[in-house]
């Protein structure tokens, strides 16, 4: 093996020789720099492979003596891994900085290499004084390289950096002196072994000074103003270096020092880290400048890694857990942050502003945007990136340890971070789309004004903001590296079924094929979904089978509509396929981790789909915020459920264990002695719900409930219910829904609204319904207490939330002018019914809910697709601008007609079946008041439905639509399929109802029965087939009669009507459409005051105000910052001292 000493030899040797080589030519120096960095990568990489293969960590004695007589360097797995990533990122960073290093003085190259060497040294050394030396090498080189940028701001920030570094170094040095005085050695392992350092007060103070120095270098809140200024004003390449590579050194130094500390001191460090994480992200919310927010995010992430490391030390993480949690967070930050700083650089100063009108984003290639998106997704902590796995394991451990405050800081900080990062990404994408839309405006039939005016091709600062291929390449390689790390983590998660990776794999494959024509990709997507359905559906049963059918078959049918799209549709098919398949994974999920993974994939893909819409700046961000917030609640809820229920439920089903085992076996061929012990949180869903397996059936009784913590069960259920209700768009947390459903592309809206909306329903059935059932089962046992009976009554509360969602969703739909918002609110309302059905916790209630789910899939698909066709043709979404389209788009009209009849619940279409089941269920349950509210709600639906179909298709045709054509055939095909499905169910409801009833009978005793074609409940009866026949009879008879008596009425022109002496002038003034329900609004408009929108806006305002208050700490004054540091150190000293 190459000795790590070569790292230093090469770096120092070259540093001296660069001056010489540079005389020959800069190309030689650059080549040497790259070669040296590549050599670094090689050294650490080869060590990593070697060590993972089973070799023991090596202690390298620099002067031939064992420590403490000479400096010792350690090369273990951790060191190899960290230096490998740091060196790779440094190499990519050098590529990114290539042009700049090439054009500047040679000192730049020297300093860059020295920084990297210093960091390697900080990681490897085991000697405290040597650590100091490497810190100094790194820091001084960094100041110098910052100083080479000749802008005032950069110099000023470099000076602040110098000042902070100076204070830190002083502390370190004094600490080192005293440590040597107390313990007689500076060899770290010697200090750890002797364990006598803290015997007296001096020892603690000495070590504290050293630790404080490292803490300051980790840029803790609030003593980090200096660092933020550096991030903002330094060159992005250097900011990336500091944020990623330098931080790697300091974090590892911190990690090394942890074993010295007594356990009692660790909670303080966890707290400090999370404190930084929380506040840095909070303040980050207020900023829109990309570099500033990346600065806040860097500071925050470093705090989080430090906290995770300390927490790991505190609770005794094993090797694998440390790798997944600490390593995961750290590597995630390292690569993603560097990549994002580069992105900010490529986008330029203007591209990093929220209101960029002339960003260069428009000119950048799609892979750049993809890499940008991947890095953002990774940093936010979404799957399949390392941050996700780390966060999950961390959350599980925080919950089982009862560390609720820390958990709160972790999750709220993560949410803030997600919001500001996605805001940046969303803005960039919007600008880019607006620009490309403007570029091919001639081809686009839609006339909706672009969100932002097109860029005018401004001259950009050449040195700073040019997206050269090399720069983009560095970025893309970074994203690939991170994805690979994520893949390893995925394999490591052990309990996780590989089939769950299908959505990601399909998305990657389709993205690679993105150069193909759009239609071909569409067919490929459909084929993938069909294959998935063919493979997965038969392997499932019960609820999973039912929802899998809805997701995959429904999703596939609706996706046919996308073939109407023209052009290549870059990025659409990977996302849409990923969405459909991730829904499939949700239904197939076996463990809680599977579930969360698929759930987050769904959130990511649907967020990105929504982002593709025209005016989606705010709506998509709001959607993302609620999705991510909801997912955090779910993570916590699952973790709490796992902690609450007895160990027996944590059996991992064999199939998952087998798949996970294979993955682990494969990894083991690279890593000797790999053991996943302690890693898996192992929460089997069936086990949790007490269904389906031996453990479950035993557990539903009182006997097996020993060890369950009732309070935690309740907490878990509330958290899960809240998380899923958020996703369902329940009243109060619905504010994201209209925007997301309404602003997505028109056919994507159909997919999201008719298919994806059922995911929340499925989840509520499982984790509110069945978990509630289980809690109720346990109530009878020795555990009977208030918490559990409260848990058992949670479904009733959920039912009320559902019915109120239905009511207010319908009310709001009535007053919309925008056809997609109307349908979005209508979806919200319909989902509300279904949730209420689940909340009833009876056979009929669940049957109603599932039957309505099928219907909603059919009719909302039809309606949204019909609308998509209309919008495509008319170029507007305002209903009053349409009118009379029945003459031009008759098939779309029929689809809309069937859709509204089915939705409204008018017999004979199956919507009535849903309503009948629903009311019968409510009355059977004795929930009379809810039945009243439900009936009122269902009449309100008539209002918006009539308004929709009348103002769009009936009334007066506008002159400019005289030449309109019927919608694209690809939009009509899925509509026709859905119509056929609807009619079939109307004529023979039993084809759907019987399987549903059978599934539900597994959970609740049936109270309905079939008698030939009649469903008979305890209260009433319904024969759908007969109703269909009678309706046809009473319809056809008068029709035949009318045809006989009035065969050929004279067909008249549009304005030929009785108009009381007045002559209709123009269609615009004759079409009664705008503010259609004015009297209704006068009577009941008070019900749709945007109370919740105001509430959430106030929350937003409040958070921003608090953030502003803290942001005021950052005055930009170096002296103030120095004072912050000193005060911070003093305060931390007292806290830590007190804790010992």
């Amino acid at each position: 093996m190459l000795s790590p000493l070569y790292l230093f030899a090469v770096a120092l040797g070259l540093a001296f020789l660069f001056g010489l080589f540079d005389r020959i030519g800069r190309a030689i120096s650059m080549t040497l720099l790259y070669a040296a960095l590549a050599f670094f990568v090689l050294i650490s990489g080869s060590w990593l492979v070697h060590l993972l293969g089973g070799a023991a960590p090596v202690l390298i004695q620099t002067a031939g003596f064992p420590p403490p007589f000479a400096i010792a360097l350690r090369m273990g797995v951790e060191e190899a891994l960290v230096t490998l990533f740091a060196n790779v990122v440094a190499l990519l960073g050098a590529v990114y900085l290539g042009r700049r290093l090439k054009s500047g003085p040679v000192t730049g190259i020297v300093l860059y290499l020295l920084v990297v060497m210093g960091v390697n040294g900080m990681v490897l050394t085991r000697d405290l004084f040597n650590l100091f030396v490497f810190i100094e090498i790194t820091s001084i080189s960094t100041y110098a390289v910052l100083g080479m940028q000749r802008s005032g701001a950069s110099l000023a920030s470099g000076f602040k950096y110098l000042m902070a570094g100076g204070i830190a170094s002083t502390l370190f040095l004094i600490g080192v002196i005293y440590i040597y005085r107390v313990s007689g050695t500076l060899y770290l392992d010697g200090i750890i072994q002797s364990g006598t350092l803290f015997a007296g007060g001096v020892g603690f103070l000495a070590f504290f000074l050293l630790l404080a120095s490292i803490l300051v270098e980790l840029k803790p809140f609030p003593a980090n103003g200096w660092a933020l200024d550096v991030y903002q004003s330094g060159h992005t390449g250097l900011a990336a270096l500091i944020a990623a590579v330098n931080s790697a050194g300091f974090l590892f130094a911190f990690y090394k020092l942890l074993p010295v500390l007594p356990e009692a001191a660790l909670p303080t460090l966890v707290g400090l880290g999370l404190f930084t994480f929380f506040f840095a992200n909070l303040i980050g919310l207020r900023h829109t400048d990309a570099r500033r927010i990346l600065g806040f995010s860097s500071v925050a992430q470093v705090g989080l890694v430090a906290a995770a490391a300390a927490f790991g030390r505190l609770t005794g993480f094993g090797a694998v857990v440390t790798f997944v949690v600490v390593g995961g967070l750290f590597l995630n930050h390292l690569v993603a942050k560097a990549g994002l700083f580069w992105t900010a650089g490529i986008l330029g100063p203007k591209g990093s502003q929220a209101s960029a009108a002339d960003s260069p984003a428009a000119k950048l290639p799609a892979p750049f945007i993809a890499a940008f998106g991947l890095l953002i997704v990774a940093l936010v902590g979404l799957p399949p990136f390392p941050g996700f796995w780390a966060k999950w394991q961390l959350v599980v451990r925080l919950v089982s340890g009862g560390n609720w405050v820390w958990l709160g800081m972790l999750l709220s900080g993560s949410l803030f971070e997600a919001i500001y990062l996605l805001r940046w990404f969303g803005t960039t994408v919007a600008v880019r789309r607006a620009a490309s839309a403007a570029a091919d405006a001639e081809e686009v039939t839609r006339t909706v004004p672009a969100f932002v005016p097109a860029p005018k091709g401004v001259e950009l600062d050449e040195a700073e903001s040019e997206g050269s291929p090399a720069k983009c390449g560095a970025l893309i390689l970074g994203a690939i590296l991170l994805s690979a790390t994520g893949a390893v983590m995925t394999l490591l998660s052990g309990e996780f079924a590989l089939v769950q990776m299908l959505p990601v794999a399909a998305a990657v494959a389709l993205f690679v094929l993105d150069l193909l024509p759009g239609k071909l990709k569409g067919v490929l997507s459909l084929a993938i979904i069909a294959a998935a359905a063919y493979l997965i559906v038969p392997s499932l049963s019960g609820l999973r089978w039912f929802f899998e059918l809805i997701f995959l078959v429904g999703g596939g049918v609706i996706l046919i509509s996308s073939l109407s799209r023209k052009g290549r549709q870059v990025g659409y098919y990977p996302l849409a396929t990923m969405l459909v398949l991730s829904l499939g994974s949700i239904a197939a999920a076996v463990t809680a981790l599977d579930f969360i993974f698929a759930w987050e994939l769904m959130a990511v893909s649907s967020y990105l789909l929504v982002l593709r819409g025209d005016r989606t700046g705010k709506p998509s961000l709001r959607y993302a915020a609620f999705s991510i917030g909801g997912a955090f609640l779910l993570m916590t809820g699952f973790a709490a459920a796992a902690a609450a229920l007895p160990a027996a439920v944590r059996e991992i089903p064999a199939i998952v264990a087998a798949a996970g085992g294979q993955a682990v076996a494969w990894l083991s061929s690279f890593v000797s002695g790999l053991s996943l012990s302690g890693l898996t949180a192992g929460i089997s869903i069936d086990g949790l719900l007490g269904i389906g397996n031996a453990a479950g059936s035993a557990l539903s009784g009182a006997a097996a409930s020993a060890g369950a913590a009732p309070g935690l069960v309740l907490a878990a259920m509330i958290l899960l219910a809240l998380g899923f209700l958020m996703k369902a768009g329940a009243i109060g947390v619905h504010v994201w829904l209209p925007g997301a459903y309404g602003e997505a592309e028109d056919d994507a809206s159909a997919l999201i609204s008719s298919v994806m909306s059922k995911a929340a329903l499925f989840a509520i059935m499982l984790f509110v319904g069945l978990l509630g059932l289980r809690a109720a089962g346990v109530t009878g046992g020795p555990l009977a207490n208030g918490a559990l009976s409260a848990a058992a009554s949670l479904p009733e509360i959920v039912a009320w939330v559902g019915i109120l969602t239905a009511l207010f969703g319908a009310m709001m739909a009535v007053f919309q002018e925008d056809v997609k918002y109307l349908m979005a609110y209508s979806s919200m309302s319909q989902i509300g019914y279904m949730i209420a059905g689940v909340g009833m916790m009876t056979h009929l209630g669940w049957t109603a809910s599932m039957f309505m789910a099928v219907n909603h899939l059919l009719y909302k698909g039809m309606l949204f697709l019909a609308i998509a066709g209309v919008i495509q043709r008319t170029g507007t979404r305002s209903m009053y601008r349409m009118g009379g389209l029945i003459k031009k788009m008759p098939i779309s009209y029929i689809s809309a007609l069937i859709g509204i009849i089915a939705l409204s619940g008018v017999p004979p279409l199956p919507g009535f079946g849903g309503k009948w089941l629903f009311y019968t269920a409510l009355l059977e349950k004795g929930w009379y008041l809810m039945a009243g509210v439900a009936f009122f709600t269902s009449t309100v639906a008539f209002l918006y439905l009539f308004r929709f179909i009348y103002t769009v298709f009936l009334g007066q045709l506008k002159t400019r639509f005289q030449q309109l054509k019927e919608a694209s055939v690809w939009l009509l095909i899925p509509q026709v399929l859905l119509i056929i499905g609807t009619i079939a169910i109307a004529a023979f409801p039993s084809i759907v109802l019987t399987p549903i009833m059978n599934i539900v009978s597994g959970f609740f005793p049936a109270t309905v029965r079939w008698e030939n074609y009649t469903v008979i409940s305890t209260l009433g009866y319904w024969n759908g087939s007969l109703v269909m026949l009678v309706t046809m009879g009473v319809f056809i008879t008068p029709l035949v009669w009318l045809l006989l008596v009035s065969r050929k009425p004279q067909v008249v022109k549009q304005f030929n009507m009785v108009y009381a002496g007045e002559r209709p002038d123009r269609p615009e003034t004759t079409h009664y459409a705008h503010n259609f329900f004015q009297p209704y609004s006068r009577a009941l408009g008070f019900l749709v005051k945007p109370v919740f929108v105001r509430f959430w806006n106030a929350v937003n305002e409040g958070v921003h105000s608090i953030a502003k208050a803290f942001d005021n700490l950052y005055s930009g004054n170096g002296q103030t910052y120095a004072l912050h540091i000193l005060l911070y150190v003093v305060i931390v000293y007292f806290i830590m001292r007190g804790s010992l």
Partner: protein
């Protein structure tokens, strides 16, 4: 004879009876109203004359297919509603197709005709039609609330949603009628009926002076004839439903005639006594006192039965 054919034949007979009763009832009430106002009024058979006249109109115009189908939907809605109600308790002839569904089916089938008619009228492009529909729907959401509550109260009281069973439960003397066992439900229901019948004070939907008869503005000739036919049928269908739910149903045809006549007189009485509400006023009206009465009916049913 084949039982299905027989059933259809019975239904046709039952429908024929109802149609005639509806037309005559319209004539009688028009005459009564005229007398109240000091006029002589139309002959009782005016309904027949109108329909026949309309069929023989020389001209007939259409605005499109949906316009053409609108009256068909309306008639189908009216006839269908009647078809799902057993008109006379214990009579095979008048049992119709009540075994297809319970009272929820009837409540929803009412919407079938209204919706279709509204769509047909919509295609005419006449703003008055749309205004009328807008008012009608708005008012409907309000008056359905007390009605729904009264039906819920019945479900709570009789533990069934089957109309036949509800009627059966009221047999054995008038004290068993819902009118006496749960008067709140009856009051709420009958107030809703006023809204459904769209006489004063809830007549703004068809306000003749303002939006000449609203939704059907553009309909005439055979279309109008169909609508008039339906009006007769649908009117009786509603009255029969209310009679079944609240007034003990009917065991003979005479009982049915008397009860529906009396019930309709309530509407007429109120109609001639009060001026018209604006739509928002009538919405507020229905959602206040009648809704509270409806809730009282439910509470009463839960507590007492």
């Amino acid at each position: 004879m084949n039982p299905i054919v027989l059933q259809i034949l019975f239904a046709a007979i039952s429908l024929f009876v109802i149609l005639n009763w509806g037309l005559i009832l319209g004539g009688i009430t028009a005459r009564i109203q005229a007398r109240v106002q000091g006029r002589i009024g139309i002959p009782v058979w005016q309904g027949y004359i109108d329909i026949i006249k309309n069929y023989f109109q020389r001209t007939s115009i259409s605005h499109g297919i949906m316009f053409y189908l609108g009256p068909i939907f309306r008639v189908a809605g009216g006839v269908g509603t009647y078809m799902f109600i057993p008109a006379i308790f214990g009579s095979v002839l008048f049992s119709n197709f009540h075994f297809a569904g319970d009272v929820i089916l009837v409540m929803y089938f009412v919407f079938f005709g209204q919706l279709g008619m509204a769509l047909g009228a919509g295609e005419s492009g006449h703003p008055y039609s749309a205004i009328g529909v807008s008012r009608g729907l708005a008012q409907m959401t309000a008056f359905e609330v007390p009605f729904a509550l009264s039906v819920i109260a019945l479900a709570a009281q009789y533990h069934t949603l089957s109309i036949t069973d509800i009627v059966a439960a009221q047999q054995g003397g008038f004290v068993h009628w819902t009118l006496f066992t749960n008067p709140f439900a009856v009051i709420a229901g009958v107030i809703s009926l006023l809204g459904m019948n769209m006489h004063n004070p809830f007549s703004v939907v068809i306000a003749p002076q303002e939006i000449p008869i609203g939704p059907p503005t553009e309909y005439h000739s055979s279309f109008l004839a169909l609508l008039q036919t339906n009006r007769a049928i649908f009117n009786i269908a509603k009255l029969v439903l209310f009679m079944n739910l609240f007034f003990g149903g009917a065991t003979t045809i005479w009982g049915m005639l008397i009860k529906t006549f009396s019930l309709y007189m309530v509407t007429i009485f109120v109609g001639v006594s009060f001026p018209r509400f604006r739509v928002d006023q009538s919405i507020r009206f229905f959602l206040r006192v009648p809704t509270v009465i409806g809730l009282a009916a439910v509470v009463f049913a839960i507590l007492v039965f």
